[in-house]
């Protein structure tokens, strides 16, 4: 096999050499990754260069991680600036919800087929919206999972609404024509969060703690929603 690595400094790098850093970072497509693997297997010079790249890769991560994190001042400044933005009706917090919902809705086509993969993304996006809205609107303590868009996901949303009774849950299937914005609004209206999904197109929703009768009424109301095709109580 022809050596892919270049021995002379003044020579132009080969295509494979230039792909090595991306291979180390795992960002090549399958075809290019295979090409690089094959070249590495047959070229010791290239393999040596790859070892050097792995070292650079590790130290670059170490260097960036050592930079620490910004102080709370940055966040205070940001939200002070947002608060200073022109007032929107009906209220800033609702407007925040609407804007973020709109933002998320643009991540995918207006009408979404609720396949498992799309649903998984939607789960994270809606969880993020709910977290943001709750932060603005509620005084009870809570925690939100990290928001992820086209990124690896983190754990599910959890929150403590300050009520001791177990919160009711429901398995819900949304209508195929439901948009993320619609679902976000529904979750907002019901003060619900998605805690699991989408297995077989079903999402597990959790509502605020309430009595049995109230929970039964809520479920009935939910079943009557236009964008809900199925809603059943679940532990």
């Amino acid at each position: 096999m022809m050596a892919a690595s270049k021995k002379m400094l003044d020579q132009e790098p080969s295509e494979i050499e230039m792909l090595l850093p991306f291979h180390a970072a795992g960002t090549l497509n399958a075809r290019d990754a295979r090409r690089v693997e094959e070249a590495l297997a047959g070229d010791s010079g290239l393999a040596l260069q790859y070892a050097v790249i792995r070292e650079e890769y590790a130290e670059t991560i170490g260097l960036n991680e050592s930079l620490g994190a910004p102080s709370a001042r940055a966040m205070q400044k940001l939200f002070a600036a947002i608060d200073a933005e022109p007032v929107r009706k009906p209220s800033l917090s609702v407007s925040l919800s609407a804007r973020v919902s709109e933002f998320f809705a643009r991540l995918s086509p207006r009408t979404l087929a609720w396949s498992a993969s799309v649903g998984a993304v939607a789960l994270l996006l809606q969880a993020g919206v709910i977290g943001a809205v709750l932060m603005k609107n509620q005084t009870a303590s809570f925690q939100t999972a990290s928001l992820s868009m086209n990124e690896p996901s983190s754990g599910p949303i959890t929150r403590d609404l300050g009520v001791s009774a177990a919160p009711p849950r429901a398995l819900v299937r949304f209508a195929p024509e439901a948009r993320i914005a619609d679902i976000t609004a529904l979750l907002d209206n019901y003060q619900a969060s998605i805690i699991d999904g989408a297995k077989g197109g079903m999402f597990r929703l959790q509502f605020k703690a309430m009595g049995k009768d109230e929970a039964a009424n809520l479920l009935k109301k939910l079943q009557g929603e236009k964008i809900v095709s199925l809603a059943v109580a679940t532990p």
């Binding site: 270049k6 400094l9 790098p13 295509e15 050499e17 230039m18 792909l19 850093p21 991306f22 180390a24 970072a25 795992g26 960002t27 090549l28 040596l48 260069q49 050097v52 790249i53 070292e55 650079e56 890769y57 590790a58 130290e59 670059t60 991560i61 170490g62 260097l63 960036n64 930079l67 994190a69 910004p70 102080s71 001042r73 940055a74 966040m75 400044k77 940001l78 939200f79 600036a81 947002i82 933005e85 925040l96 804007r99 973020v100 709109e102 933002f103 643009r106 991540l107 995918s108 993020g128 977290g131 943001a132 932060m135 939100t144 990290s146 928001l147 992820s148 868009m149 086209n150 990124e151």
Partner: protein
């Protein structure tokens, strides 16, 4: 917005800090970036990852901040001289810490080389994403990174470290 901020602000801060080399300015960048996101959320078309979008905004803001700093007479080299109080690579080598010397040389790269190395290695961006963030052709992304790495090797060699490449 809080969730979005919580998820990405450290990444934005670190990318900004590596470009402007000033913590205060890097912190200011964060609020500028996320305020832009707040104002322009409707323009996000979802064709790329949110981090790609955020890093592109961060880069734009960082370059603007650097231009402002030059306007007041504090150029990149001067800034380097001010902040660079730790050991230089040669001293680090004497301490037999190759990893530390490598980090030192990564810091000594030019702004263009720093950003491409960080985007590929730390932010794990693909060729296409780096091209989008930096606003250069994909082939230029690959060649620029190659020459950034070669410059890094030169700096290490000058510091007495031979790694067998190039």
């Amino acid at each position: 917005m809080q969730v979005l901020y919580g998820r990405h602000h450290v990444r934005v801060f670190r990318f900004g800090l590596r470009l402007v080399r000033d913590e205060q300015i890097a912190e200011d960048l964060i609020s500028e970036v996320f305020l832009d996101v707040w104002r322009q959320a409707g323009k996000f078309e979802g064709r790329s990852a949110v981090t790609t979008w955020l890093l592109a905004i961060t880069r734009f803001k960082a370059l603007s901040a650097l231009r402002r700093r030059k306007d007041v007479g504090l150029d990149d080299e001067t800034a380097n001289a001010i902040e660079d109080t730790s050991d230089d690579p040669e001293v680090v080598v004497q301490k037999k810490d190759t990893g530390e010397a490598l980090r030192k040389c990564l810091t000594a790269l030019s702004r263009e080389h720093r950003e491409i190395v960080d985007l590929v290695y730390y932010h794990e961006k693909s060729v296409e994403e780096v091209a989008e963030i930096v606003g250069i052709p994909e082939n230029t992304v690959k060649t620029r990174l190659f020459y950034a790495r070669r410059k890094l090797a030169e700096l290490l060699k000058a510091a007495g470290i031979e790694r067998g490449w190039p």
